[in-house]
Amino acid sequence: MLATLLLLPVFAAAIALARVPDRARLQLFRAVAFAHLALAIGLWNRPAEHLFGGYIALDAVGLLVLMPMSALFAGIAIYLGGYLRRAERRSHRIFIAALLLLQASLTLAAASQHMGLFWVALETSTLVSAPLLYFHHTGRALEATWKYLIVGSVGIALALLGTVFLAIAATDASGDTTLFIRDLTAGTVHLAKPWLHAAFVLLLMGYGTKMGLAPMHAWKPDAYGEAPPPVAGLLAGTATNCAFLGVLRATQICAHAGEVKFASSLLVLLGLVSLAVAAIFIVGQADYRRLLAYASVEQMGVLVFGLGFGVMGAQGSLLHVINNALNKGILFLAAGNLLQLYGTSAIAGVAGALRRAPATGAILIAGLFAAVGLPPFGLFVSEFVILRAAIAGGASAWPAALYLGFLAVIFLGMCVAILPMAQGESSRDEAPLHEPASTILPPMAFASAALVLGIYVPRPLAAMIESAARQLGGG
């Protein structure tokens, strides 16, 4: 079953590259995305399958990253129908193939039990997303793609160096070493401290670049600001979560080697820097797609900040992984609709969305409330759990206070930018705009899921998060 999950998108990509009509390519992507989701749900109850000599297996942490990813791919596969019909005419051959390969590489990353294999998977995901970013073939998109490639590649090269350092740290007296996560966290392998420290810093920097943590976030506003919004949403909701998985694994290894203090202080610091940078650039932002990119920097900051506060913080972060994916599914898809309806990504150019495009306007408002962490949306719960962990586990009150302060600034900045887009008076003609069902239903489904997660976390999910957090906490 796991093998099918991994190979299905690869085979489908090969078909998409062959001479088939564009319409068939999109239907193929939809079919694969839903089959993937069904398989992922099927794996939920029996995660013990191993493949390829133990290199590939889905543990609790991997499943928690895989599930929302699969759901987001399915939602966006539906959404793309309406989006592509209204986008400029251009062959979908490379686009659909790249989407499928992205899904394959991210699935492999989520299921990697070996730090080297994980690196290969994540690097592949970077490369196959380049054609997605460049889909519209504009000069600005080209600039964004270049930055994404060069910054991402250098970042991920640092992660590779960190992976090598980790293997050096794990070398025993007979010269043997391992990069299997289960070996590195079993407590049987002695890890040399200086190399482990260097490895953690490099892995955090490297995978942090892929996540878009400040100050390595330079590519993010450009890439998300120029990519087709469904692609930006897909990357912000899935690829960044997978990169976070790399940081999670590195932290897990540090925790089991008794170096949790060292790891935590760096995670908290980087989380706060990201929140600060996001707050600075969200306030007064003039472009709503770049605004959402900085909101993604914020969410990544929350993820690593939470990871710095023990088992409880890790629980919050793991829940936040799911919320982050859902949230990107709401907001970027709403942004895609607005871009196509109003023809601009300037905040000032969009007004009265609630009246002219009622469904998109409502989704935008729901997405805003979900993104800033208002109850009863799921993000409120995960951000609150992280806050409690920071207050309970922190040696000083400063991190928690700063966290809350930055979130408050971001809350205001987002509301000031987005509320006038939804309400406000439209200066141009007030004729209602046409909204195809395929561009409305997926973000609505994500919004409902975010709402449900805010009211109650289903029992199996809670159990999975608990076991994953214990696995991470070293206890």
Partner: protein, 217 residues
Amino acid sequence: MTNVALDIALILALLLGVTSLGTSRIGAAIRYFWMQAAAVAMVPLLIETRSGGLSVHAWVLFAATMVLKVWGVPYFLNRSVREASVRTEVEPLIGFGVSLMLGAGLVGLSFALARQLPLPQRPASDLLIPVAFSLLMIGLLLIVSRSKAVTQVVGYLVMENGIFLFGLLLIDVFPYLIELGVLLDLFVAVFVMGIVIFHINRAFDHIDSHQLDTLKD
């Protein structure tokens, strides 16, 4: 004897790295890179002859590096340069002379840094770690100080050569499917970057990545 050969290969890789900092011609930078990659490709073989027999692993690694880095990557880079008809690096952010001096400083720093990280086991050559650190930093310097997209790719590749040398510390124990995956990813990365460079050239009539600066806050 083989110890000497190993040291010569490492010193050659280091010198070619430093030299690439001082050249203004993009074609020369690419040539220095593939010569460096060839020197680096020899290292796994030389390490193993030192300790006795040659394993299949070392041969596979050697062959893959030769095919992908010494032949494949320069082929794509040269093609991008031809299509973009750029020959020289103009107006680097940091001048060539200053870059060379900085490079020398980075090499010194690398030797100091290597002393700070004691290895669990003595490496095949005492030069391995310092040269690896040097290539890493020289590559980073090339990326940040050059304005042509192709030269930045060369910097990324030099950096990757340094990481490859670190990986050779683990030659006996690292699974080589992973190593091949890494090499293949690198190759595809250069392929994709080559395509992007081609498009940059077509869209802007230059491949000056510092003029790609419309996007900012």
